[in-house]
Every structure is written in structure tokens, then in C-alpha cells.
Symmetry: C2
Subunit: 170 residues, 2 copies
């Protein structure tokens, strides 16, 4: 499925729609999933940054060309949000995702430039049942988004609360 | 200054516009700054989430009411991005900010609900000159966004590259 999002951002999840991830029980440490691609165009980079991160190298092509980046780059929050979209489509499940308390370490090792496509991969790092709430578990996931040159442009370790599979007939 | 952003998000930075932060030299560990407020309305919460984080409790008021959150909550990425806007206005400086390699630990200890206003505070945790690039330093900042009840809704430690003050006549 190719999702054409508002403002030119597009997610391509063709062929990666069935990981079989529905409940906590399905997230097994070590398992790694290709979750789809996301492409950034200049209009979406500028529109996001004008609203949330209006630094010259995110919103002004002329100032960006004169900056150390040598041209426009996407706000890191735009990159993170776009990667999230792919994860909602292909890693988290609407029937079990209970949200997130946060992430351990976010890194943007390479800038994302207009025209770049990032490939998003999610690897289960840890999965443990909640001690206080027996209906759910805590999943830690290494999220990596890599550009066409194979360079990582985003990396983070996310923490998610996920419902366990309901008992049959329960 | 009250910035009315697209989609109903508004930043109020009235009275907090002059921290005197222009270059790396101005960021002193221990210094803490009130950077302004940001208010979330329901339309902006839903619009952001439809684009980037379309989980039921972010986009569907009826499904959200039946979820453990008991009502719509903002995507954590929306919260982070809105906090960034306040920091760009009142903590980072266009003449010296060189971007960020990432953050150490992001937490969303309390959900952000439509109508909530967060007060953003930035505290300099560490400031050191770059060993490899003498024109800049690395600033670590504890960012906290607190709701009207005094509960923290966002907390993160950001890393920023910041130019040192140019030598006079240099």
C-alpha cells in the first residue's frame, strides 16, 4: 500500500503488511522486521519545519545552502514522526498498542534531505510481562531508518506497552 | 509574542523573549530558562496524528474514550515537536544553532489532552567545547514540559551543537 500523506510525505508499505504481530505474545526478542519506506519531498520538509522547527537550515533553501549542511535538511522531529507512521502501519497493532512511556536514546546520524527515502526496520530487543498490570507487556524495539546509500539517518530504542493475547473465550 | 500556528497549535512566548542566549559561551551549566507555553486543541491533536501516528486513541474520540486513556491524547511526537517550536523561539539561537545529533532519553510521563497547555523549561546540564571542531561546543539540556496541574508531560535530554562567539573583528 502506498499512502500519500498530506504535504507530500509518502509511505510505501507494499509487500510488508503481514508480519503477524497482533499481541504482546507475538513480539519475540531478536526478531527483525522491514516495515516500509518513507520519502521526504522539499515541500513537506519545509511545511513541517515552519510549524515546529523553523531553523534556517530546515525552512530556507538559501540559508541552508550557506549552512554547514550545504542545503535543506529535514527536522529530526519530522524524521521521527514519519518513521512513526511506518511503525503504526506495520509494527504496532491497533488491537494491542497501548502507547509508549518514551524512548531510550534517539540519534540522527545522517541528515535527511529532500528526495531521500528511508527504509524502516524494527528489531525486538526485549519483551517482558508487566508485573503490575497482567494484561500487558513491555516491548523494547530498536528502530533504524536507513537512506538509499545505506547510511542510518535515524536510530532509537522505543518502549511500548502492548496487550497480551486474550484467553480463548475470555 | 503569541504565535498562532497552523492547525490550532499556539505558542505563547510573551515575556520570555530575552534570555541573552546567542552563542555557546552563553549556555552555562545549571542555568534554567522558562521558554514559553504551548497549547494543544483537539483539531491539532487529530490532524497531527492522522498524518504521523494514527492510533485510535490519537485520532478517534469514540475509540479513545473506550481506551485506557479515557479520551483523546496527543501523539508523543506532536508533543515533542510542539515543545521544539518553543525551544527554537526561546532557547536556541539562529546565529549559532547547528542542529542536534539526538537526545538521551525521552519520556512522556503524563498524557497531553486537548485543551492542555504545557509550560516549557530548559536547563543547561553540560556545555563543553568540541575537541575536533574548535568553532563549536556541545550543549546538553534537560527539557521539561509541565501541564497546568504541575505534572510533567514531556522530559528529555537534548544534545545540541552550538557555535562559539566569534572573536571581535574576527
Amino acid at each position: 500500500m502506498i499512502l500519500q500523506l498530506r504535504r507530500g510525505l509518502s509511505c510505501d508499505t507494499t509487500g510488508v503488511n503481514d508480519h503477524g504481530l497482533h499481541y504482546f505474545d507475538d513480539y519475540v526478542p531478536g526478531a527483525s522486521y522491514e516495515c516500509g519506506n518513507v520519502t521526504f519531498d522539499q515541500a513537506s520538509v519545509i511545511a513541517f519545519a515552519k510549524e515546529f522547527d523553523p531553523q534556517p537550515f530546515h525552512v530556507d533553501p538559501v540559508a541552508a545552502a550557506a549552512s554547514p549542511y550545504g542545503g535543506l535538511i529535514a527536522s529530526g522531529w519530522h524524521t521521527a514522526s514519519a518513521v512513526m507512521r511506518v511503525l503504526v502501519e506495520n509494527y504496532l497493532a491497533a488491537e494491542s498498542s497501548l502507547g509508549s512511556p518514551g524512548l531510550d536514546e534517539i540519534r540522527w546520524p545522517q541528515p535527511v534531505r529532500p528526495g531521500d527515502t528511508l527504509r524502516v526496520r524494527a528489531t525486538v530487543v526485549e519483551a517482558r510481562r508487566s508485573l503490575s498490570k497482567p494484561d500487558r507487556g513491555i516491548v523494547k524495539t530498536l528502530i533504524e531508518a536507513v537512506n538509499a546509500e545505506g547510511q542510518p539517518a535515524f536510530r532509537a530504542t522505543a518502549i511500548n506497552f502492548v496487550l497480551v493475547r486474550p484467553a480463548p473465550g475470555g
